[in-house]
């Protein structure tokens, strides 16, 4: 009864059947599930009621030749399966037979018999057949067919012998399952034979190779055979190693060849294609475990090996031509190999340095330098953003490179940036809306950040800002303020305090002028108050220093000046005012034959024109004595009035330049289509001298800063070696200095007794209190 039950359950669901023996072993009871329920019941009810199952009293006997007969039947079936002929028995009957054999302790013998039959078949039928196939391509097909047939047969056989597999083989660890036995035999007798193995592997390699050459091959065949190798567990030993070797050799050669033949973008595209192909190969037929080694081989032979020459040959070109896609590809490919990105980054960095240097270093390109820098920065940023995935390493590299090359040429970039900003903030720059201007300023600040000598920038910026403010040429107060706050953010309050002071002066002046107008209105004088006087009061120190010039003003103007003086000093005692005629501007009402005009002129121009109220003809010398304007300035002024676009004076003799023998006359026939005419002062071109003067001032300031830093350090340290002092100085000073400069300052301080050389060690300094 026990056996019947087990059998029945086994037939219903075989997975459970495998577990059943185990269960009974653990529970240490010879009963089935019922006893478990019973024991639970027992505990619950406390009533002991045992269900005992007894064996048959007597085993049923089998006929003597039952084993032999049964085996014959089974063998017949196996052979029929192997030779693909119909089986003459019902499958259930065969299954029953196997089961019976097992029940009567014939399992091990049955297993041995089965093994023999299969081995014989494999060895004597399959192997010779395979050996007989000569053609390489057909061989692979035949091999695959044999393998498939073998598998099919083994599945069938295993199904019939399932009971044996479960009942006997599973419980006997030393022997392989029927399926594994089938594999083992196939491995041993078919593929294990040197010839067959070599031919299979060679054939596979040949197929793959021809696929790599671009031919279409039977991928299913490849897949099936490779699965066979995997199933037989010889994939790695006989195939993978040789496959990788072949791959390596192929791509070594291909890499070398194509590096010569193709240009870099083509080569990269090719590598990309190859990698994709190999990936597909893994997906379609190779064993998944090969992927890493295979891809790695391709990467090594096609990328790593040629890193240096790819970069040297192609990077510059790609960057020059802004080949976004190729650069992205390059980044992606290089990111696959060790050091790829490091190398790329290094080359990228030196490219920027090289290109940047050409922008900065050539004085002939000064005009477009800042715009070029902005464009270049934009381009590089864009490349980092879109091609190099905004990698931090590259972002930093761009910064480092810019900082490096921009400072290759001292001072000039700083000066040109200041000028560039001036041109953008000046009135008449209508090319940009406010937002555009704001964005542009932000970009300029980025460039500015790289500059070491920021004091040079400040000096030039201050000069231009003063001009914009005093001449009223600033396009927008908002833009000015925004630029100022950017500078403050970048360099700190100390840097911008003077610039802020300038704005403050302008605001104060506005208030003062409003008050002054009221003051003048309340003045009861017989004085003809026709002049609308506006004075900008500057605080010394905030503004650039302007040369002191004395000129002769007409009586009327002097009077006005005095009124203002009185007014101002009444409000601010203890001060005096120093007038700056160079920065003055006038609005004149002039009468010509064709009607009245308003002339917008500089103070100097006005002074000259006013002289012609008294007389018709004036010589150069007359004008010079009357106005007391400095010679060069006067010549420029006269030139602007008599030789410029709007000629309100006539010069005798005519000519482009003014000489000391010239005579001048008021031009009554002056015409202009506008009512209000602006007569441009001929700007003294910002000569080299003027630039040098500004630079000189900067250097002067720097010397004081160096001195201060040295004394500060020495006061703290008392004694310090030359080297340490210099290195501390480099830490503290924010502008570029040469060791020679530092030495000079140290010498000077020693001379002035701020410090002294140590008597014993000349390389050491002592602070002198």
């Amino acid at each position: 009864m026990y056996e019947l039950m087990t059998m029945a359950s086994m037939m219903e669901d075989s997975p459970n059947a495998a577990k059943r023996p185990n269960f009974s072993a653990i529970s240490n009871s010879n009963s089935n599930g019922i006893s478990k329920t019973n024991s639970v019941l027992m505990v619950k009810s406390g009533v002991a009621k045992k269900l005992v199952i007894k064996n048959f009293r007597e085993k049923p006997k089998l006929p003597e030749d039952y084993h032999a007969e049964t085996w014959k039947k089974l063998k017949e079936a196996v052979v029929a399966i192997q030779s693909s002929t119909p089986i003459s028995y019902c499958l259930e009957e065969l299954y029953q037979a196997v089961e019976n054999m097992c029940s009567y302790q014939k399992a091990s013998q049955l297993y041995e018999n089965l093994r023999e039959v299969i081995e014989q078949h494999v060895k004597e039928t399959v192997e010779p057949y395979i050996r007989g196939v000569q053609d390489r391509k057909i061989f692979l097909k035949e091999m695959e067919a044999c393998w498939q047939a073998h598998c099919r047969q083994m599945i069938m056989i295993r199904s019939i012998f399932l009971y044996l597999d479960r009942r006997y083989v599973l419980q006997t660890p030393s022997i392989p399952s029927i399926w594994d036995m089938g594999l083992e035999l196939f491995r041993k007798h078919v593929i294990g034979q040197q010839l067959a193995q070599t031919r299979t592997v060679d054939g596979l390699l040949m197929l793959i190779e021809s696929e790599r050459q671009g031919d279409v091959v039977d991928r299913l065949l490849l897949k099936s055979l490779l699965r066979m190798l995997s199933d037989l567990q010889i994939y790695q030993d006989v195939f993978e190693h040789r496959f990788l070797q072949a791959t390596d050799a192929l791509y070594t050669a291909e890499g070398r060849r194509l590096m010569q033949e193709l240009d870099v973008p083509e080569y990269l595209a090719h590598v990309d294609k190859r990698l994709q192909e190999e990936n597909e190969r893994v997906l379609h037929y190779l064993d998944g475990g090969t992927r890493w080694a295979l891809i790695h081989t391709v990467e090594r032979q096609l990328i790593s090996e040629h890193l240096g020459s790819l970069l040297a040959k192609g990077l510059e070109n790609l960057l020059d031509n802004n080949r976004i896609q190729d650069l992205s590809l390059m980044y992606n490919l290089f990111s696959r190999v060790k050091n790829g990105l490091v190398e790329l980054c290094t080359h990228f960095n030196s490219y920027i340095k090289k290109k940047g240097r050409t922008i900065v270093i050539d004085p002939e390109k000064d005009k477009s330098m800042v715009q070029d820098l902005l464009d270049f920065k934009d381009k590089m940023d864009n490349i980092v953003l879109t091609c190099f995935q905004k990698s931090e390493k590259f972002v930093n590299s761009v910064k480092e490179a810019f900082e490096h090359f921009i400072n290759q040429r001292p001072n000039k970039p700083a000066e040109l940036i200041a000028k560039f900003v001036d041109s953008k903030l000046r009135m008449g720059n209508k090319e940009a809306t406010e937002e555009e201007l704001e964005r542009l300023l932000d970009k300029i600040m980025v460039i500015f950040r790289f500059i070491h000598g920021k004091d040079v920038f400040e000096a030039f910026y201050k000069k231009d800002l003063a001009k914009r403010l005093l001449v009223g040429k600033s396009a927008s107060v908002d833009a000015e303020k925004s630029m100022l706050s950017k500078l403050k953010q970048e360099c700190g309050g100390a840097f911008t305090s003077k610039l802020e002071g300038m704005f403050k002066d302008m605001e104060l002046s506005r208030d003062i002028n409003v008050a002054f107008k009221q003051y003048v209105a309340n003045l009861r004088t017989d004085f003809d108050s026709a002049i609308d006087l506006t004075v900008n009061i500057l605080t010394m120190g905030y503004w650039p220093t302007y040369p002191l010039v004395e000129v002769n003003l007409p009586k009327e103007m002097v009077q006005y000046q005095e009124i203002f003086n009185k007014f101002y000093l009444g409000k601010h005692s203890g001060r005096k005012l120093q007038w700056q005629p160079t920065l003055g501007q006038c609005m004149l009402k002039a009468i010509f034959d064709n009607g009245k005009k308003e002339l917008q002129v500089s103070l100097f121009q006005a002074l000259v024109l006013l002289l012609f109220n008294e007389s018709e003809d004036l010589s150069y010398d007359d004008i010079k004595t009357a106005t007391n304007i400095e010679e060069g300035e006067l010549k420029r002024t006269l030139q602007s009035l008599a030789c410029g676009k709007a000629r309100v004076l006539m010069k005798e003799p005519k000519g482009k330049d003014v000489t000391e023998e010239d005579k001048f006359k008021y031009n009554l026939e002056f015409t202009n289509k506008l009512f209000r005419v602006k007569i441009n002062q001929i700007q003294m071109k910002e000569t080299n001298e003027e630039q040098k003067a500004t630079e000189e001032r900067v250097f002067q300031d720097r010397q004081y800063q160096i001195d201060a830093a040295i004394v500060r350090i020495m006061k703290m340290r008392k004694t310090l070696s030359h080297q340490l002092l210099v290195s501390e100085l480099y830490n503290q000073l924010k502008f570029p200095v040469t060791p020679v400069d530092l030495k000079k300052r140290i010498e000077s301080l020693i001379d002035r007794d701020y410090m002294a050389r140590d008597k014993e060690n000349p390389k050491q300094y002592n602070y002198v209190a």
Binding site: G541, K576, A606
Partner: protein, 84 residues
């Protein structure tokens, strides 16, 4: 009259009417401000004593606060503000 001035926009720089370049107390130039201030001008004015010496107001106040006798640090005469 052929030409007449209608408007005049000009520039002047203000300076302290001091009899020295530097403040005798803080040694900073009068064009600048005392060591505690940042902005020259009305926020950091100068004062004159009857003795004709002149200092940053902040400087002389500090000095006087630290002394028992209210004397000018330059000439040791009694310190008195010169009235305007």
């Amino acid at each position: 009259m052929k030409v007449k001035i209608k408007g005049w926009n000009t520039v002047a720089v203000w300076k302290w009417l001091a009899n020295d370049d530097k403040c005798g107390i803080c040694r900073a130039p009068f064009d600048g401000c005392c060591s505690d201030c940042k902005v020259p001008g009305d926020d950091c004015p100068l004062v004159w004593g009857v003795c004709s010496h002149c200092f940053h107001m902040h400087c002389i106040m500090k000095w006087l606060a630290a002394q028992q006798n209210q004397i000018c640090p330059m000439c040791r005469q009694d310190w008195q503000l010169k009235s305007e």
